[in-house]
Symmetry: C2
Subunit: 213 residues, 2 copies
Amino acid sequence: MARSAGLRVTLAVDIVLLAPSRGRLGVYAPADRARGRRALPAGAPRAGESLEAAAARIVRTALGGNAAWLAQVATRLEGTTATVMFAGLVSAPAEDDANWIPRERAASLGASARRLVDEAVEAAAGWLDRTPVAFHLLPATFTLSELQETYEAILGRSLHKASFRRALQSARLVAPTREWRSEGRGRPAQLYRFVQRAPKASRRGVRFDWLSS
Amino acid sequence: MARSAGLRVTLAVDIVLLAPSRGRLGVYAPADRARGRRALPAGAPRAGESLEAAAARIVRTALGGNAAWLAQVATRLEGTTATVMFAGLVSAPAEDDANWIPRERAASLGASARRLVDEAVEAAAGWLDRTPVAFHLLPATFTLSELQETYEAILGRSLHKASFRRALQSARLVAPTREWRSEGRGRPAQLYRFVQRAPKASRRGVRFDWLSS
DNA sequence: TGACTTTAGTATCACCGTGATACTAAATCA
DNA sequence: TGATTTAGTATCACGGTGATACTAAAGTCA
């Protein structure tokens, strides 16, 4: 690369953590004591630390554990601050965890944070089509309805049950266990486990039906 | 966002410009007089300038015109330099333009640049599925074979001719003109023009056949 | 001139994934 | 017992894909 002077800036990291829960998407936005309102987690890399390592550290500090998926989404320069935005997916938090707000209420964090959340959700939806991340948001065994709800929460739309299961079966990504789980009313559901597979690179044709955004 | 101190760094912008040409992908890597070898274009934002504006300015300086598509791909922190990498797609350059090298020869730019080029190509392939960018790499009228070659160059694989045309027709994205072009030997090809359309958001099911990387 | 080559473009067909509809199965609830 | 709820399956029509093979129209070359 042809190096030139460069611009001196302050580097920061913002993080949008998303978690599917009961078919909805939650955003991690704990109360920020310093400002008396909710805010997305943020921080900055330390000397010698990579951006990814810094983001993972900030997540660990906030949640006490790692995200199932964490990746850069975009970088923004505002004044003399450059902010690298990461999006992450984590397992559903406890239902009474007050640090999480529904995705729909992200607007209450301000216009800037709202845009970050929108970008994060879009990125997360893309990961679903390219990685097995959804399986890592669930416990070791899970029902196919739980898996479908996870997809639906992140994609923001409902999926066809039979098609979802057919695609899953043909990909041989899950294996049934001998256990069933009864969840209140309704027929018990069989538990499945994720089967790591050599991904078959099924190259399909070109699509000309791109989306609005 | 919960603000903290931040890290002082130097901000730079690297740019990978790709151009499909004769079914191959070219990379813009002019000779860097200061270092006596080829290098990817680079620069830095000016005070008050956005990253996108800086990238567009660097492209204009290098090419004398805008890219058909230019977008952030990733940001890397190495020591005290944060580098934002942009990828761009531009129309095919003149065949004798020595500033371009074949994509396969990107390794000669060094391991770092090679990785940037790989990431840029991957990003560009993603744009093809989500935006009409390929149409803006061609002149106002073009043959369907030229369009297909553009896709093939960026995707790095050959496409089925009949399927390509069927998908194109059903999307109603191109309209035939009354002109034909004879290109040396072989039957002349009809010229088409791009028809901007309200994109029909055809939401398809979930795919479980993610790719290796 | 006429056969061959090259490129453009189309027709047919088997196959597969999708989504709609409708069904069965097994649990709880009133 | 019967209604409701959730799980799971069967069937069918439809549309997109890719293989194969064909026709069409130009240039090349003996």
